[in-house]
Symmetry: C3
Subunit: 450 residues, 3 copies
């Protein structure tokens, strides 16, 4: 069984409170109508900024970003469909998924037949409102449950969308938390989805609490956290920060769909061989018997941009039930029941353990030839019996492979013990003068250690 | 099921006709008594030369070729065994397999007992005439069905072989079809077997029609086709052309046993890692669910020479039912029923697809950072729903791995799509300016791409 | 079935005698009370020195050796426990396992209750005397069968250990047998265990007879054999000889637990990729269908020192039933019945075959292009039939991979034939001028050939 929801480093009482705190933040953010631009993103970031020092940044529409341009800003005030009796049969205020994202303004009467061209529903999930967007082609449309769509009587309908799409800004949040070195751990999540919980309020909520925790910790690495709109946001951010990211980031994690109770997994990098892959793999291996390594071919979140040729950040997407793999995905069923306090807590601990592994990871070298005499340092049993060796097996195994060519994660794989156990031993041996770190800031992007 | 016999690029009508045409050519060539030298080879090459510009080359007996010498030329006019009544119980004219290849001349009466020392038959295939040769030690002998041998009555027999073995030439055919670059695809098959169909008239017949097809196509590579006697022919050809081959050949295919209906496979190179291995593997993987990769340890055709140390051509032998694996092999049962029009057509399409893969293979690099905006080029659906991504998955996957380190075959392996599908997409993206080829003539012999 | 107990190179009569000879030597050595220092080691080495020129070396107590110091020398003359009636209920003379190794002197009366703190027994092996030592902390103690311990009546006991622990020497034996080159095969075993047979008199006894055999053989390599106390002995020897070992040793074998009849195996090096691993693997693969490759994580003998970071000798431990894997291990049940003449003979042949593989191993290169014409050298059948190729398959396979990049062991793996068969063929081909050795003394420590 996975034990991420009750990690050893947090007491059970704290845990339970932490999960509830995160779920409450999610409840507060849930109703806001976010999109890839607009006031919903701003409102969301302003709420998060109350939890940790989040800098809100604005990039003007039209700014060229790699192969793209920052789009015009979309805002929506109201949207509904009325029947001839003036009854609102769909109202954006009840659920912001009812409107196709980036819908153009409309105010018109039309027949049911004409209206049908603008309606979206899911035959195989007739009680779910689908999530549909049309960012790059001007359209308008409404989403609704298929069951209700089926019941719409013939007649004329009054369709109103009070939105505008005009030059403005793309908005994102950034928080840099300095550490002992300039080498960075990069953490990204997105804030462009309207009222859906796992995809995607779980990522921003978990990352908010990770930021709070990071600020309370000693940090070997500098941490760069960003809260962005998906795709165009990551492209924009990369376009503005590529050199810094390529120079400084030693490992990155994108957070998405990380708040439900069902699974743990990650989306591997294109070749599955970065430090991020190795960290996610080793953490899950020792905490979660049944976890899923999604190949990069099943990607879909901002790992698409971060791992694209020329960008090549050493990054994976950490997730619980991955986008596209659970039935509620991209519908109104992805709600505050699907994401739970324990689900969020599990996701939080998973991210935390990955960060702890990144902090712990180092290349050590034993300082003597042959096995050190642990006994004279009180590290070895003084009497040799049939079983006395077992108690120090992990220590001896660590020493064996601490030959200056393996980082702790590699040693974890070689000896089958979790990196946090090895880290504790390594620090003890370092204190005893038996291990030294081979290289200050031993994590390097070029690492190909397996 | 394997679909090589009805490749998409040829219409069904053409296919059927092509298979029949090949089978007719085979019927014409079948009765000729070929050996590693002599007029049978000349006659065969002269017939093939009517189909495409085949240059017939002669190398004198005694010419040193690597560790060997070109042997004396063997020709045979007549051979039979008569009983005392003057009845021919074996006649070379009925089947040229009756005479051991390279048999010395003989004209003598002898007892059945003495004759037995010169008879070859197969106890476990009593109705088959075996194929036996003795190129490098002077012998004479007759081959016959074991059942008939058993019935031979005691008595005296008149044994006649009217052959001669004297200085002459080793004869082979060569055809060089120039392409856009000097980099060569090397194609080899052999013309030294008497009346057997799969091993080996299938190879020369399929390669003849491949030559015709190649001449009708735009060609990125130059094509070097040779029709030679096995072993001594390839050794001779290598000895005369080693430098050119080592400099120019980027991929090579030897064709043998490629006309029956039973299997598809190839004989891997010694380490199984050349471009030829990768091409044969990817073609079969996407056309033939159940195919056989024969390890080099099971070699037996001219891959023995082409892949020998110091020669090291990046070559595999393409085959349907490999020599040594089918019961009719090296007997009179390997006949015009075993090889069929559909069998030949399947072999032809297999070779053609390997060549097309070699032509398509290139190393591409995406021209922008991050994912390109496909939508503005009409390459991406403008509305995002739960399923819209699937339609462009192959394109996105290609872009992901088009990072300048993978050729198309490597990408095919990474993303699980056939190289011809990726090639079409790559050409579209190249037209759109989104991909560029990393290196003109990107196929290099040093390629170790997997 | 494993056939190491009847290796082809020794006649059955010899075999049987050899096994018995080894067992007789073991009987002679068995009663001596060995420890990591002291007269028991000297007495043992002096006996072995009658079999081959073994140099006995002494290193003073207190000598710093890497992270350790040579300990004081321990000698024991007498030890017993008497009851109030003057009956010896435990007597060191009956079995030297009764005394905890390195026990301090004691001569005292005490109650059973107080005595219990100094008794060691095994509840789950109630009829076995356990083997216990306390080298690095001053203690005294007795070991006995649990069943007898249970029966001890209340009362007072007279406890006597007449031992001393004072500055003296650590003693070991060394034998260097020169060969054609200075490149060394390193062979190590240990002489610090009291009366136990498999662990560890089997190693010294087998290595003694290996020394005798080596001296009778032509030798390509120099052989360095050492007989040392475990752990502190190997650390001492390494400390004194590290440069020579690192420069000269091309392959090493530690022998331990190599005289019983049950299993064959070896303890792999830390990464399982040295020449020693490759040799042990190939020998067992072709002699012993069911053998065990113990990962380095299950180490426990002097491979711990020889393979430690900074030492990094290319060494494995050859064993039959490995220490820690058989129930009699480290008890009085590991006796002269557990180790048998056939068991010792099997161990001897296993070591011998590993040495023969090391001697045979070389990198060859074929001297011609294309396949050589074996026929003209009488190495190929002159008539080609369906089956004639099989008889020369190993020869042709060897030629194929004798491309100057593979040593014989690598070729053995590639072609599936044992290295001794390939060696015979290689020598024939070398005589025929068809193979040449690529490099004089082709075994190099840097070899990463797989």
């Amino acid at each position: 069984m996975c034990d991420n929801s009750s990690a050893a480093s947090t007491s059970p009482g704290d845990c339970s409170a932490l999960g509830s705190d995160m779920h409450r933040l999610m409840q507060r953010l849930f109703p806001i109508c976010r999109s890839i631009t607009g006031n919903g993103v701003r409102e969301t970031l302003n709420i998060l900024a109350k939890y940790f020092p989040l800098k809100v940044c604005e990039v003007p529409s039209g700014t060229p970003v790699f192969d793209w341009h920052v789009p015009r800003e979309w805002n929506i005030r109201e949207a509904y469909i009325e029947n001839e009796k003036g009854q609102r049969i769909i109202d954006f205020r009840k659920c912001n998924l009812h409107v196709v994202g980036y819908s153009a303004a409309v105010n018109a009467w039309m027949s049911l037949g004409d209206l049908q061209d603008h309606l979206y529903s899911l035959e195989d999930q007739p009680d779910a409102i689908p999530y549909v967007t049309s960012y790059y082609k001007e359209r308008w449309g409404f989403c609704m449950c298929h069951n209700e769509r089926q019941k719409l009587p013939e007649g004329r309908y009054h369709v109103v969308i009070d939105s505008d799409l005009k030059d403005g800004h793309l908005t994102y949040g950034e928080c840099i938390i300095p550490g002992a070195t300039e080498k960075e751990v990069f953490l990204s999540t997105y804030v462009c989805h309207p009222s859906m919980a796992n995809n995607e309020l779980s990522g921003p909520v978990v990352l908010t609490y990770i930021a709070k925790w990071l600020m309370s910790q000693p940090r070997r690495h500098t941490y760069r956290l960003i809260f962005i709109p998906e795709t165009i946001g990551s492209i924009t951010y990369l376009s503005l920060n590529l050199d810094a990211l390529k120079t400084q980031v030693v490992v990155g994690f994108n957070l998405s769909c990380i708040g439900d109770d069902r699974a743990y997994g990650f989306v591997a990098s294109p070749y599955g061989n970065t430090l991020a892959d190795r960290i996610a793999e080793t953490v899950l291996q020792h905490t979660c018997e049944r976890h899923i390594v999604h190949p990069f071919l099943d990607r879909g979140s901002d790992e698409r941009q971060y791992c694209s040729p020329g960008v090549d950040l050493p990054l994976v997407t950490l997730c619980r039930s991955k986008y596209g793999t659970y039935p509620e995905y991209h519908t109104s069923l992805d709600d505050l029941d699907l994401v739970t306090p324990t689900g969020l807590l599990g996701g939080y601990n998973y991210v935390k353990q990955c960060i702890e592994a990144a902090e712990a990871n180092a290349i050590y070298r034993i300082t003597c030839c042959g096995e050190p005499q642990l006994g004279k340092r009180g590290l070895y049993p003084s009497i040799s019996t049939k079983t006395s060796g077992a108690s120090v097996a992990s220590m001896m195994d660590l020493i064996t492979y601490a030959d200056g060519t393996n980082d702790l994660i590699a040693i974890s794989k070689l000896v089958g013990r979790p990196v946090w156990e090895l880290n504790e031993i390594a620090l003890r041996l370092k204190d005893a003068g038996l291990l030294k770190e081979v290289e200050k800031g031993s994590l390097t992007r070029a690492s190909t250690l397996q």
